[in-house]
């Protein structure tokens, strides 16, 4: 165990944990957009920046990546941190003025409207979808392509993904709802990746519940009997009871 101070509180923490993890475990909230506990830290949105003091020189670091160190003094809400965070949110609001999550963040910080040119994007390039697809799902159907302002999330060569299984994990982790998944009848469509999937009908209740491609993938990975994947999770729970 190590001890550090966050906002004046003396805190004991596991060695190897990040500042963000330690803060959240202790009920200290730090805003994030590109962080997810199931995924590797990425340090791209910079919203989680906190001020740390090493020696006599305080500096800002991304708390999602920076390890909690013995004797570290952390300030999550200093004037410098708040000013910086506001700057980041203002930049994000200029990029995505219509995105609810960003509007809410901005409102909470007292930003009415950005002082510079607006765009109309719905993706903040946090990379959560890409990391979920790679690290958790394991299919790497999408990635971040292009550099700088041309950066975007896309399938290889912008062609309909051949490896996507339609699981929609990307949409589930997206903080800005930029990935649109439409389930209509027996079809799931994810326009962002130009893909369509046939959905499996539940043998018990008749509801279309998941793409066949996803169930096939899970079946092969898990080694469970095929029948297991023909019943929707709701009925499965009912069965168990």
């Amino acid at each position: 165990m190590i001890s550090l101070s966050i906002d004046g509180h003396e805190i004991q923490a596991e060695e190897g944990a990040t500042i963000l993890e330690v803060a959240r475990d202790n009920g200290i909230e730090i805003p994030t957009l590109c962080y997810h506990e199931a995924l590797e830290s990425y340090g791209a949105c910079r919203l989680c920046m906190v001020e740390i003091v090493i020696g006599s020189r305080p500096r800002l670091v991304a708390s999602c990546c920076y390890p909690a160190e013995e004797g570290l003094e952390v300030r999550t809400n200093s004037e410098r941190v708040i000013k910086f965070r506001k700057g980041v949110v203002e930049l994000l609001l200029a990029r995505c003025p219509s995105v609810k999550a960003i509007q809410d963040l901005a409102q909470g910080m007292g930003i009415e409207s950005p002082r510079f040119g607006l765009k109309e994007e719905d993706c903040i390039l946090c990379g959560l979808c890409v990391r979920a697809c790679t690290e958790v799902v394991g299919v790497s159907a999408i990635s971040l392509v292009g550099r700088g302002m041309d950066r975007e999330v896309a399938t290889p060569f912008y062609e309909p993904s051949k490896t996507c299984i339609g699981c929609a994990s990307c949409a589930a982790v997206c903080p800005t709802k930029a990935i649109k998944v439409e389930d209509v009848g027996n079809t799931r469509r994810i326009r962002n990746w130009k893909v369509e999937f046939e959905l499996q009908q539940c043998k018990t209740c008749g509801k279309y519940f998941a793409p066949k491609a996803q169930l096939e993938y899970l079946w092969q990975k898990s080694g469970l009997p095929q029948e297991f994947f023909e019943i929707c999770p709701d009925c499965m729970r009912g069965n168990r009871q």
Binding site: G43, A44, M49, G87, L91, L144, R147, D150, R151
Partner: protein, 625 residues
């Protein structure tokens, strides 16, 4: 070359190395004439290859090939005056040599010992001629420990390097020093990284040596991407063995057995020369298994970079080496702990590696005696822009900017006035005339809001608009930002937008404050040094040239007459004699010739403000406001 072709046998001990060296030196006649022509990229662009072919042909025709040596070397630095030819042993210095000069150089200088006056460098300030290389003012004021060998070495011939004492430092390191002693020596020399960050090299090595793990890597960063910078390129092209020797010594100190040169693919000659050098070093036993019989193994591979500026950042470079997208990641962990493939990795810049053999040969104290308290040794700068003598200059740390620009650089081109010098590449700051006496070292430049960077030095004259300069560099950085983190990706773009608005006459009151505010966000919050230093050109120009920003914003006026939206050209009727030169030069047909001795007429609606009329007018009859 001849000995090399006979396939030299492997060198297995320090004694054998010294014997081989002696054999090479003894086999050479120091009084034998040698024509050495610069084959660096600058001189090649000026036609050095054709001149070389002519020299070879002429020597052959006159049956002189066996009596006179001919050598194509790396860049000695005076690119402004290329193609450069140096005649040894006297080191006669010929500049701006043309194909037509070749027969005369051979018949007059080589055979008759006569110096050809018209090929000599004439100092434009004093009118003094400099027949010999060492007397040229451009070189005389420098301290060229790294660059001076470039004109004496054929980079494709390891024997040239050995003849100048090459690999003696490696031999000393392997047989006389322990890795710990070696690191101590580097620490005592107080050398700091030449790639931009200025981190003490010895400490970096120590971290990597102390890091846990059996597999460690050393990397040479030759991804030099600053506009106008070519220091690393010239070292790699001109003296690759020097860099390799430094790397092998570093690998021994750190405990690495594999190394890599990461070199941008836009440097084809450097790629070619370092590959030749690696093959030769392997053949001679300086690379590979059991180097010089010491039991130490080390190999080097070459990886070519795809041209992303951000890949010069060490974590992005490592990602690129691993086959991933070249993007930086958050540090810690630092590469010294977890670098390439998660193993402890030490990355140094080309120039840092090139300094290592010097330190080992001459001792840490010698090295530390050059320079200032916090910055030791020499530093190579690429001196470019509106200066008379553009080229590579190697100077002791602590020299003043004025000495570099005026004594070495020969002052400002075309008799114009100095306005600013930008140091440290695209994310460096612009330093104005009142700080010309500042001594060039890491800390002094930082105090002025600029950086040492990797050694770019762009000189600007009075015709430069500083807002436009900031806009230019931000445009470069915007297109080179990898786009991973929000402050750098979004912030630089917004700053550039504001600068474009100011340059195009749409600047508003409050823009300067907004630029400063955005700068703080980008500087404090960016993931890597690209973003963290990106605001420098903006902040430094605001700091030293605020009135220029204000003129653009408040008066919609560009004092340097650069920003096209804010200037207009007109004909001064009293001065115009109707010669019609401007009419011919105008690409838009905006100027109408009336009659001789009658002023021409300029139609504003057609004018694209290219300035062609202004440039051709011999009577100063074109006004710009």
């Amino acid at each position: 070359m001849t000995n090399y072709l006979k396939k030299m046998k492997r060198i297995n001990s320090p004694q054998e190395l010294e014997q081989s060296r002696k054999a090479i030196i003894d086999g050479r006649d120091p009084s034998r004439p040698c024509i050495s022509i610069c084959g660096g990229t600058g001189c090649l662009a000026l036609g050095a290859e054709k001149i070389s072919d002519n020299f070879k042909e002429e020597l052959r025709l006159q049956y002189l090939s066996t009596k006179i040596d001919f050598k194509i070397t790396g860049c000695p630095g005076f690119c402004e005056r290329g193609p450069l030819v140096i005649i040894y042993p006297k080191k006669i210095f010929y500049q701006r040599v043309k194909i037509e000069d070749v027969p005369e150089i051979i018949s007059e200088t080589i055979l008759n010992g006569k110096i050809i006056d018209r090929l000599l460098y004439i100092d434009p300030q004093t009118g003094e001629k400099s027949p010999y290389e060492d007397e040229v003012p451009f070189y005389r004021k420098q301290r060229r420990h790294l660059l001076s060998n470039n004109s004496r070495i054929d980079p494709g011939n390891i024997e040239d390097y050995l003849a100048l004492g090459g690999y003696a430092a490696l031999s000393k390191a392997l047989f006389e020093l322990s890795p710990e002693q070696l690191i101590e020596e580097i620490k005592e020399s107080k050398i700091r990284g030449r790639g931009g960050g200025g981190f003490p090299t010895g400490r970096k090595w120590e971290f990597c040596r102390q890091a846990e793990g059996n597999i460690k890597y050393v990397i040479c960063n030759c991804d030099e991407g600053d506009p106008g910078a070519f220091m690393d390129r010239s070292l790699m092209e001109g003296n690759p063995h020097n860099v390799l020797e430094g790397m092998i010594i570093g690998a021994y100190a750190i405990g690495a057995h594999e190394g890599c040169v990461y070199i941008r693919n836009e440097y084809p000659l450097a790629v070619k020369n370092v590959n030749i050098a690696i093959a030769q070093a392997e053949e001679y036993g300086f690379l590979g298994k059991n180097i010089l019989g010491s039991g130490f193994d080390f190999t080097i591979k070459v990886n070519r970079g795809g041209g992303a500026f951000v890949c010069g950042e060490e974590t992005a470079l490592i990602a690129s080496l691993e086959g991933k997208v070249g993007e930086p990641r958050q540090r810690p962990p630092y590469p010294a702990v977890s670098g390439l493939w998660g193993k402890p990795t030490n990355i140094n810049n080309v120039e840092t590696w090139a300094n290592i053999p010097l330190i080992i040969n001459n001792g840490a104290n010698w090295f530390a005696s050059i320079g200032t308290e916090g910055s030791k040794g020499t530093k190579i700068f690429s001196l470019v822009g509106k200066v008379n003598n553009t080229g590579l200059v190697e100077v002791p740390m602590g020299i003043s900017l004025r000495d570099i620009i005026y004594k070495i650089g020969g002052g400002i081109a075309n008799g114009k006035k100095f306005k600013a010098v930008q140091t440290g590449g695209p994310s460096g700051g612009c330093i104005p005339a009142e700080y010309l006496d500042t001594s060039v070292d890491y800390d002094e430049l930082t105090k002025l809001g600029s950086i040492m960077g990797s050694g770019g030095m762009v000189v600007m004259d009075e015709d430069t608009c500083m807002v436009d300069v900031a806009r230019y560099f931000l445009t470069f950085l915007k297109s080179e930002s990898c786009g991973k983190c929000v402050p750098c990706r979004e912030g630089i773009e917004k700053m550039q937008e504001i600068l474009i608005n100011i340059c195009e006459g749409r600047g508003e009151e409050g823009d300067i404050d907004l630029l400063e505010e955005l700068s703080a966000v980008v500087r404090e919050g960016s993931l890597c040094a690209l973003g963290a230093t990106a605001p420098n050109p903006v902040l430094s120009t605001i700091r030293y040239f605020r009135q220029e920003y204000e003129a653009h914003i408040r008066e919609k006026r560009c004092p340097a007459h650069v920003c096209k939206a804010l200037i207009s050209y007109s004909i001064i009727d009293e001065k115009c004699l109707g010669c019609g030169l401007c009419e011919k030069a105008c690409p838009q047909g905006a100027i109408t010739f009336v009659a001789k001795k009658k002023p021409v007429i300029l139609e504003q609606s057609k004018c694209i403000k290219c300035g062609a009329c202004y440039d051709v007018c011999k009577l100063d009859a074109v006004a710009v406001e």
